[in-house]
């Protein structure tokens, strides 16, 4: 093997590793969800990390929990509690909203296949 051969093999392996880490390991890292609040940048959160988030909306604070790759509204200051009754969201595209508090949740998955949700 000449020096040039070695360089070529090195570059090819480097490219392989780069692509693997970027497009394979990265996507295995878990699903994500988006917290959407009008007028604010979207908040993207990983679903592999169990924790609770407190998000301030128009009426007050909504509590959002992530557990075992799922996400849900735990509490919200609305009267109907439809968001809480929506329960756990897991699959890509799953959606729940607290319209009175102007906060919505969308499971984005590894690749969100929809541009928007009709409901």
């Amino acid at each position: 093997m000449t020096k040039a051969d070695a360089v070529v093999v090195f570059l090819a392996l480097s490219l392989l590793l780069l692509l693997y880490s970027r497009y394979w390991i990265g996507t295995n890292a878990g699903e994500t969800a988006r917290i959407l609040i009008p007028g604010e940048p979207e908040i993207e959160i990983p679903l592999e990390q169990d924790r609770e988030y407190t998000i301030k909306g128009t009426l007050g604070e909504s509590k959002i929990a992530v557990n075992a790759g799922r996400i849900r509204f735990v509490n919200s200051p609305c009267t109907t509690k439809q968001c809480v009754l929506s329960g756990w969201l897991q699959n890509s595209g799953a959606f729940a909203a607290c319209l009175p508090n102007r906060i919505s949740l969308l499971v984005a998955g590894k690749a969100l296949r929809f541009d928007t949700i009709n409901f």
């Binding site: 070529v8 490219l15 959407l36 007028g39 319209l99 929809f114 541009d115 009709n118 409901f119």
Partner: protein, 350 residues
């Protein structure tokens, strides 16, 4: 001689990969912004527009939605409540061209739906407590009161236009444009975006939307929510300019002693319509799609085809209370089920 050739080949390959993957890295070119309008969350997706122009366009739509909110709100002081006040007193009222066009369109759609979409029953909707931002509480309306209202057979036929005035033949005719105003607003927003030179957009007002153009080299993809879970039941790709509207029994409801009374009231008996869980309609015009989704929900699994035909709606999916999906033949060609196993499906010709 082989090594330089191999070297150049690999370098060329690397360069190609770089171009290819740096292209992937450009993220999506969709500008997505959410605003609060019409008492809900409105999401605007724009493709192929720079950030500043997209922001200006979204702000313009927000202003227009706010103006429409002030005109057509059913219970907060608005142009509509002023009209209702005069109708209640048996007086005629002068209306502007915009109001006349909107109310005439609502009347035409109502008549086409055999009054299943009935914007003249504002009094009945109020009786159920749905003229409030909060969920209604307490017992449902008294059956005698409901019967008394239904026996008057209030429909849009009783709304009479004379030149630039409008009056009604019955003071109980009170307008409520729920099931239509949102569609109208979405149509107005799309026209506004087009005037600004925007060709690829989705305006999604609280789950109901109109999409124009494409997302780059592919159509816009819409996920339709499953009425009995938070997942997606079907997906659909829009063609050039289409609205996707769904009416469902899960959107707003009145709960009393463990029993749920949803907000889509059947004007024929005064009670929440039974038989359907959700109806999804695809149509070019959002106002028509909105009115049709309401009318077909009320028509139910047995009568939706004839009403769809009368309203000129070709694409319909109705899910009944047994989770059976009734599809028009045209709709069956357009959707893809996203649940496993897919629900029992009945495809019907219109």
């Amino acid at each position: 001689m082989h090594v330089p050739f191999l070297w150049y080949t690999m370098m060329f390959g690397l360069a190609c990969c770089w171009v290819l993957f740096s292209g992937c890295e450009r993220q999506d070119e969709v500008h997505r912004e959410q605003i609060v309008a019409l008492g809900t969350i409105v999401e605007i997706n724009l493709w192929g527009v720079d950030k500043e122009r997209a922001h200006r366009a979204t702000a313009a739509v927000a202003d227009e939605f706010s103006r429409l909110h002030q005109r057509w709100h059913a219970w907060e002081p608005s142009t509509l409540t002023v009209i209702n006040d005069r109708l209640r007193k048996g007086q005629s009222i002068t209306i502007d061209e915009e109001s006349k066009a909107l109310l005439s369109q609502a009347k035409a759609l109502s008549l086409a739906s055999e009054s299943l979409f009935n914007p003249a029953i504002g009094e009945l909707i109020a009786l159920w407590g749905f003229h409030s931002d909060d969920a209604p509480s307490g017992p449902p309306p008294d059956p005698t009161t409901l019967e008394a209202f239904v026996s008057k057979s209030i429909t849009m036929k009783g709304l009479i236009f004379e030149n630039d005035t409008v009056r009604s033949i019955d003071p109980s005719l009170q307008l409520d444009l729920g099931g239509f105003a949102k569609g109208h607003a979405v149509d107005v927003a799309i026209a506004q975006l087009r005037e600004m030179g925007i060709k690829n957009a989705i305006v999604n007002a609280g789950g109901d939307l109109r999409a124009i153009g494409r997302k780059g080299n592919r159509p816009w993809r819409i996920g339709v929510r499953d009425p009995r879970s938070n997942g997606i039941i079907v997906s659909v790709e829009t063609h050039d300019d289409e609205s996707v509207f769904t009416s469902g029994d899960y959107e707003r409801y009145h709960e009393y002693q463990g029993k749920r009374y949803h907000h889509i009231i059947d004007p024929r008996n005064g009670y929440p319509a039974r038989g359907s869980t959700s109806v999804t309609v695809i149509h070019r015009d959002a106002a028509t799609a909105d009115a049709a989704a309401t009318a077909l929900f009320i028509a139910g699994p047995e009568h939706w085809q004839s009403i769809a035909e009368k309203m000129g709606v070709e694409y319909v999916m109705l899910i009944d209370q047994n989770d059976t999906a009734f599809l028009s033949a045209a709709m069956a060609e357009r959707i893809r089920f996203e649940v496993e196993p897919p629900p029992r499906t009945v495809v019907q010709l219109l």
